[in-house]
């Protein structure tokens, strides 16, 4: 119902608002003193909150990085937990400034929703989880299965494509909220739980007996997950885009939150540019020149964020495709120059 309300608000805003130029999000954020960041309703490792209400995860780190770039401080962020269905209307209607919520970059979302993806902070693919006692070893054995998933996701569409193109039968049970999918799957409503593989590992922790379930090896889709902003505000688009690039470049150059203080005196021109000792990169983005140094100091580089949030128990996700390009992975950021 909440989502319905926000959709109705968006609709009436679109119907009633008199023509106005796109507001400069950066000025707004500076004026209100915090960044409003859309995240998930609780996905361990990506965006999750502890019992004190503190958010953490690689998606949350993107928000903290943007906050660092603007305010020199990672904590000027307010989080809006959103279900898969709610997320785009929340961004379109201006309820949030940036969406950083395991969201797959697709053509429709990039071109028809009035949104722009700023990059990829996690390369993922869709997988399946089943009960071990079913004895299923690969996805092609799933014909006839009941499949639980989130509605309003790419998952919902991929699973249809996969089963249909392989001539397999299935029953799709699509819930609005991730916790309901987990509960229904745990209660035996479905044989299979499908979503991004990262999501499967993360949600498995929430099951009554995680060890009774396995994630099948098959990956049936490409799910490049990344932050999203509204279309038509290039300054803001640039800032969010380069906040992520900064983290990746810093890892590549070996700059981390541990050594950033000592790197300040480095004579390496690349390091000097990244840390704002040379050039006008911060100014061009509309923030202070120490923007990237602040990000690394407060949030860490991409590798640190990954290790802290994903490579720890109980998730234990390996870098895999998300290793730097120089180490055989896909993470590659344009140079700061």
């Amino acid at each position: 119902m909440k989502k319905f309300t926000s959709t109705v608000m968006l609709t009436s805003a679109l119907v009633l608002a008199a023509g106005q130029a796109n507001a400069a999000t950066l000025d707004d954020v500076k004026a209100k003193g915090f960044l409003q960041c859309g995240v998930s309703q609780g996905l361990p490792g990506f965006s999750n909150f502890d019992d004190k209400g503190n958010w953490s995860g690689v998606d949350v780190d993107v928000c903290r990085a943007v906050s660092s770039a603007i305010f020199g401080n990672a904590n000027q962020v307010k989080y809006t937990p959103l279900s898969a269905k709610e997320r785009f209307t929340a961004l379109q209607s201006g309820e949030i400034d940036v969406l950083s919520r395991n969201t797959t970059w697709t053509a429709t979302r990039d071109t028809a929703l009035g949104l722009n993806f700023t990059g990829v902070n996690y390369y993922d693919g869709q997988g399946f989880m089943v009960r071990k006692d079913l004895g299923v070893k690969k996805a092609s054995e799933l014909s006839g299965a009941a499949v639980c998933t989130n509605s309003g996701t790419t998952t919902e569409l991929n699973v249809s494509d996969y089963f249909r193109s392989n001539g397999m039968d299935y029953k799709l049970v699509a819930f609005e909220k991730a916790d309901e999918v987990v509960a229904a799957y745990d209660a035996g409503r479905c044989d299979v739980y499908t979503t991004d593989q990262s999501g499967l590992y993360a949600q498995r922790i929430k099951l009554k007996d995680p060890s009774a379930h396995i994630v099948l090896p098959d990956v049936i889709s490409k799910e490049p997950l990344g932050p999203v902003v509204r279309q038509g505000d290039d300054q803001w688009f640039n800032l969010v885009k380069w906040s992520l690039f900064c983290m990746v470049d810093a890892e590549e150059m070996g700059i981390s939150s541990k050594n950033v203080a000592s790197k300040m005196s480095s004579s390496n021109p690349g390091v000097k540019r990244l840390l704002g000792k040379e050039g006008n990169f911060g100014k061009n983005l509309g923030v202070s020149n120490s923007w990237c140094g602040d990000i690394v100091k407060n949030v860490g580089n991409y590798g640190e964020s990954f290790a802290r949030n994903l490579s720890v128990a109980p998730l234990n996700i390996k870098r895999g495709k998300n290793a730097l390009w120089s180490e055989g992975g896909l993470q590659y950021a344009p140079p700061i120059r």
Partner: protein
């Protein structure tokens, strides 16, 4: 009246501006122009805003392939169907859920409302406990309660409960055989229609006869006889042109037959039980609004309590019951949109949810959705108003 007023004096024609008729027309015209102008302005403004924000617009998306599956559909649907088809499927799912909910809530509500007034202390208390409990717990919680109660209580497909021949119950739903109609079945269909028509005229005739002669006719038994007998006769003549598609456990789940999914059952329970608690109160209030003297008079004439209730009290109570009852029906229909929470594919979940999310066309989809709910509400209101007018006691 003035004596010589029958010859109307040539009225001193009021000035053009002071003529009430012309004024009325003038104001109406102004209003009409204002309405049209606002409509045009809003439309233009919306298209402009959408374009500026780079959001797709128009109704063309209704013809685009949907690409997602829907677990239960009353009309044929597949991933290759269009968004427009998905809209129809979800609308029908909303309608069937609301209809079934309204029927069950009404029956349950009337029983509990009457029980609440029972002279039997235990029955009356049970009824009021029911009302207090179900009226005061938020509906969404009740939906979750029934959903997980249903899921937990039922076995996995491999341990299905075999209810009757070919009928299975498990946590994926209630599977029943579905009829496959063979050649010659149209005769049976005609027999069924004929039976209904016959019963309609029978009831009319019986009423008339009772009014004229006071003689009663066993309408109920005869009607049942016709309703069963005629189709049965047709079946025998055509040699039973029905075969059954019996569900069978194949791999993970049952295949074939019909299935009522657990989401539907949970919603149906939750919506009817919740709404019944309000209807019960409406029925109680309605019955209490009929003066007790009526009951006493009926008893004094030796009329049985059950018949007194049916023929004396309820018809008068209905005048008080029907109007608030309509708003409960409207509530139930609107509440059916909570189904999104437990994966039942109704209008808000599929159309204002998945389709909106996949196409991003919030304005068009919300307009259609609001239009549909408005239309359903108006239809229910119209029907209830018609019914109310029909049963209104004709004062003699």
């Amino acid at each position: 009246m003035n004596k010589d007023s029958h010859i109307a004096p040539p009225a001193a024609r009021a000035s053009f501006w002071n003529d009430p008729k012309i004024r009325a027309v003038f104001y109406q015209a102004i209003l009409l122009i204002a309405v049209f102008y606002s409509g045009w302005y809003l439309f233009n403004n919306t298209t402009e805003n959408l374009e500026r924000q780079g959001i797709a617009s128009g109704f063309g998306f209704l013809e685009t392939t949907a690409g997602f599956g829907i677990i239960t559909h009353l009309i044929p649907y597949s991933e290759e169907s269009t968004y427009g088809r998905a809209f129809l499927v979800s609308l029908l799912n909303t309608l069937i859920l609301s209809f079934m909910g309204i029927v069950a809530a009404t029956i349950l509500g009337v029983i509990i409302g009457i029980a609440r007034l029972s002279k039997n202390w235990l029955v009356a208390k049970l009824a009021s406990v029911y009302i207090e409990i179900f009226r005061n717990i938020p509906l969404l919680l009740q939906i979750f309660f029934w959903y997980f109660a249903v899921l937990r209580a039922l076995p996995a497909p491999r341990g299905s409960v075999n209810l009757f021949d070919g009928m299975f119950l498990n946590n994926r739903g209630l599977y029943t055989p579905s009829p496959v109609f063979g050649e010659g079945f149209s005769l049976v269909t005609w027999a069924i229609i004929l039976a209904f028509v016959a019963v309609y005229f029978l009831v009319k005739w019986a009423h008339k006869r009772q009014e004229l002669t006071g003689q009663q006719f066993h309408t109920v038994y005869v009607s049942i006889g016709i309703l069963i007998g005629l189709p049965l006769l047709a079946l025998i003549i055509t040699g039973f042109p029905i075969s059954w598609d019996v569900p069978e456990l194949k791999g993970f789940n049952f295949v074939g037959g019909m299935v009522i999914i657990p989401e539907f059952m949970a919603l149906w329970f939750a919506l009817s039980i919740y709404t019944a608690s309000f209807i019960a109160e409406i029925v109680r209030a309605g019955i209490q609004s009929v003066s007790h003297g009526q009951t006493e008079a009926a008893y004094a004439l030796g009329i049985k309590p059950s018949i007194t209730m049916r023929l004396v009290i309820l018809p008068q109570a209905l005048r008080v019951i029907v109007p608030p009852l309509s708003s409960q029906y409207l509530n139930l229909t609107k509440n059916s949109s909570l189904a999104a929470a437990i994966a039942y594919p109704e209008l808000v979940s599929v159309f204002a949810g998945t389709v909106l999310n996949q196409t991003g066309q919030a304005v068009e989809i919300i307009l259609i959705t609001m239009g549909v709910y408005l239309a359903i509400s108006l239809l229910i209101s119209m029907f209830m108003n018609w019914y109310n007018a029909k049963i209104a006691i004709v004062e003699r």
